[in-house]
Amino acid sequence: MNNLFNYVDRQSPIHRLTGATKFVCLLLWSFAAMSTYDTRLLAVLSVASFVLLKVSKIRWKDVSFMLGFTAVFLIMNNVLVYLFSPDHGVELYGSCTYLFGLSGKYAPTAEQLFYHLNYFLKYLATIPFVLLFVCTTNPSEFAASLNKLGVKYTVAYSVALALRYIPDVQREYHEISQAQQARGIEMSKKATLFNRLKSAGTILVPLILSSMNKIDVVANAMELRGFGKNKKRTWYMGQRFRWTDITAIIICIILVGVAFLCNYMNGSRFYNPFI
């Protein structure tokens, strides 16, 4: 079974940053990557995000599923863009350089391919960083640091609780699905997609009902132990902000600044090598 969102407990400088720092950095980093199509900056960000993954001691197998998933998505996305607007690059960069001596609507142009390269780099710059955040952030610590940043603790805690229950729900889904298969609900590849979707319903209904039941019990358990009593609470897993946190955030702010600077220098969001 694959755990989509899984905190991987290892020792690394990235793990030692507070969850809120990582969250803010994630937002800034993505903002920087999204705001510009400057190839040079995107390339730097892409390399950097893979370096950070390495630094955080995340292994290939921890994230292979998610990476595979995004790769499929990315390729599909690119193919669709090419199919629907094969001359988007030409419009953007204002020149048209046919390659391989071909011409016509779907003939590859250097501009279009360059546009796709940028598109590709945008993903490479952000997705590893998202995985980095998910794999190195302890949900409880994240809740604690969100609370410190001023998010209401009931909201912050529910985030942590949701993460805590994901493995439980996955396990239960698996169990229910086995029992339903035993009753003859075909879930394997032998059934058509439509039938499989229909069968998923027979698993989801009991899953949702039993989850609702659990939520009720947990809510009671939490109240009985004083959750919601005071306006504030303390956190066992809470961490102090240290200079590394501040440095990390400053670096990310600078990155956003660089992105804006690039856009300003390029005169638009696109770095144009065709001029």
């Binding site: 609780l161 009753r183 027979t202 698993i203 039993s210 358990a221 009985l224 004083g226 609470r233 897993m237």
Partner: protein, 582 residues
């Protein structure tokens, strides 16, 4: 007794939920003093959970309804307090420790109440360490609660409550999901914690004999929303009140009664260790044993399911089964017992095809199962999960039972015929057009069994068929399974319940650490010290009684008791006539 010692006082108390037409609790009068330990017992639906909710404040703060009379905690009416103020005095350990864990790790879970009290972080760490040491979970602070064993979970959930210095510890069915040995440990732990903290303890449980493993000051017996007895354990056991209200007496007490011994408070029946029998009593027991008819064992039936040298390893490298060889005879009713993680559930998953064995062979009526898919195996071997809510996916009972047949594409006539038949066998015919949600837990269990029966399997595997059921529902479910069994269906039950294996299984297979360590009658297994220890079972008190009476063949004595009970039960059934069938 000092007036300050009065912690809890119910005075002509009553409660009616908003959604119900009748009060659930009536005229409750009950007091609890500092340092006392009280057991509240009663069949399902007697109002004991409502009572728990009243004590810990969930009533009236989470469940709305009308309260009458008075309920004071340390001299204050609970309706004038807040839920949080009450939780400072009353610590509740919920029935299912799994679902009450909130923290990602043991340490956080223990710290939860303190966090909500804004205790500074340094002090948190200290307090958590302290409490974790008290309940002996210091080494697991960084683990996820879900990864612990049943006994450790109990300890952690207790630590989460003890961290608050409460006056009253309230345990809601602490034994419900534990194997016999762990249950015994839990009772010892409760006792130990009470002595350490001096708190008053209320245990709500219907497994009376297991709770009585340690001294209890009083037993409060509830029935239909009222308290019918509030007596010392010895007095209660010398009466017939327990049996009359559907609570199982300790087995040795029942055995004494069968033997014609008059149980009195002076004999100290609250514990088999303290039990004091006169020479005359012992003679009565021995005479009863001698007169007892020995029923010869049945002949070995034809093998229907055979496992040879099954080995199984999970993807993560955890080896769950080693060399399992096992034969199940046609028409047998067997129990598979063992601790959590002993491999009994894994084995049943391998049999059903949910997991694929790494080595060894499974055969059904001589032909190998390995080629068959989950769905194909299900035509022969039905699997009923522990929690019916995990299986039921249709709104109407008829549709639920027909689900398996529909997905097999059978004709509507066949579906109708088989569904109706299954519903009749399971006693659900009168409810056939009801929505599933209108049924009780036990009835839902029947629906899931009916939906498996509709597929016409020759073997049914049931995971914990009676978990969380009181004596009456337990008997109902088990009698129903016996009836199915008498119709020729082979039944395999996976269970923790020693009563179940004693009373209903013709044979018990004991799993321990992934291997089969015993395969014999329950009477022989539960009188074998070595196996009892290795499988974390609990020696039956009947064995102790037999030894006490100088009977040199205790396992035969246990068998004799079981046979006597069975014939007793059948006689009762005949007496009651068709009442049960409708």
């Amino acid at each position: 007794m000092n007036k300050n010692d009065l912690l809890l006082e119910f005075n002509n108390f009553g409660f009616q939920y908003n959604a119900q037409s009748k009060p659930t609790l009536n005229n409750i009068n009950f007091a609890l003093h500092r340092g006392e330990k009280v057991l509240i017992a009663g069949p399902s639906g007697c109002g004991k959970s409502t009572m728990v909710h009243c004590i810990n404040g969930l009533i009236p703060f989470s469940y709305k309804g009308e309260m009458t009379g008075s309920l004071k905690i340390k001299g204050q009416e609970t309706r004038n307090l807040s839920l949080f103020e009450i939780s400072k005095s009353v610590g509740t350990v919920l029935q299912d420790s799994d679902s009450q864990f909130v923290g990602l790790t043991v340490a956080e879970d223990i710290a939860f109440a303190l966090e909500n009290d804004c205790v500074p972080q340094d002090e948190l760490t200290e307090r958590v360490k302290e409490v974790a040491t008290t309940v002996n979970v210091r080494d697991f602070l960084g683990h996820a609660p879900g990864d612990l064993s049943g006994g450790q979970k109990q300890r952690v959930s207790m630590a989460g409550v003890l961290v608050d210095d409460v006056d009253i510890l309230l345990f809601d069915e602490p034994l419900a999901n534990l194997d016999p040995k762990t249950g015994k440990d839990a009772i010892e732990l409760i006792d130990e914690m009470q002595k350490k903290t001096g708190a008053a303890v209320i245990i709500v449980e219907h497994r009376l004999e297991d709770v009585l493993h340690r001294h209890v000051d009083r037993v409060v017996l509830m029935s239909e929303g009222s308290i019918v007895a509030d007596l010392s354990t010895n007095e209660l056991l010398s009466s017939n009140l327990l049996a009359d209200h559907g609570i199982r007496e300790p087995l040795y007490v029942t055995a004494l009664k069968y033997a014609g011994v008059k149980v009195t408070a002076r004999m100290c029946p609250e514990s088999i260790d303290k039990l004091n029998l006169s020479g005359e009593d012992i003679k009565k027991v021995c005479d009863w044993f001698k007169a007892c008819e020995k029923i010869p064992g049945k002949e070995t039936p034809e093998t229907i399911l055979k496992a040879s040298d099954i080995e199984f390893e999970y993807d993560n490298g955890h080896k769950a089964l080693y060399d399992i060889s096992l034969e199940v005879g046609q028409g047998e009713m067997i129990a598979i017992v063992g601790t959590n993680g002993a491999g009994k559930s894994t084995f049943s998953k391998v049999v059903c095809g949910f997991e694929k064995e790494n080595r060894g062979q499974l055969t059904f009526k001589g032909s190998p199962l390995s080629e068959l898919s989950i769905k194909e195996r299900a035509d022969h071997i039905g699997y009923v999960m522990q929690n019916p809510n995990q299986m039921i996916s249709k709104v109407m009972i008829m549709d639920e039972v027909a689900l398996g047949l529909r997905s097999r594409g059978r004709s509507e006539e066949v579906i109708k015929e088989r569904t109706e038949n299954a519903l009749k066998v399971c006693g659900l015919w009168p409810f056939r057009n009801w929505p599933v949600s209108a049924l009780s837990f036990g009835q839902k269990k029947r629906v899931t069994i009916a939906s498996i029966l509709a597929l016409d399997p020759e073997i049914i595997i049931l995971d914990e068929p009676t978990a969380g059921q009181d004596f009456r529902h337990y008997t109902e479910i088990m009698e129903f399974l016996t009836e199915l069994n008498s119709k020729g269906i082979t039944i395999i039950m996976i269970t923790h319940d020693m009563h179940l294996m004693l009373e209903y299984a013709s044979r018990s297979v004991v799993f321990s650490k992934g291997t089969v360590i015993a395969d014999d009658t329950a009477a022989k297994i539960l009188t074998n010290d070595d196996i009892v220890k290795r499988a974390s079972l609990k020696e039956t008190s009947l064995y102790r009684l037999a030894v006490m009476c100088g009977i040199d063949n205790p396992s035969e004595f246990v068998q004799c008791f079981i046979d006597y009970e069975r014939s007793h039960r059948e006689a009762q059934k005949v007496q009651e006539g068709g009442e049960c069938n409708e």
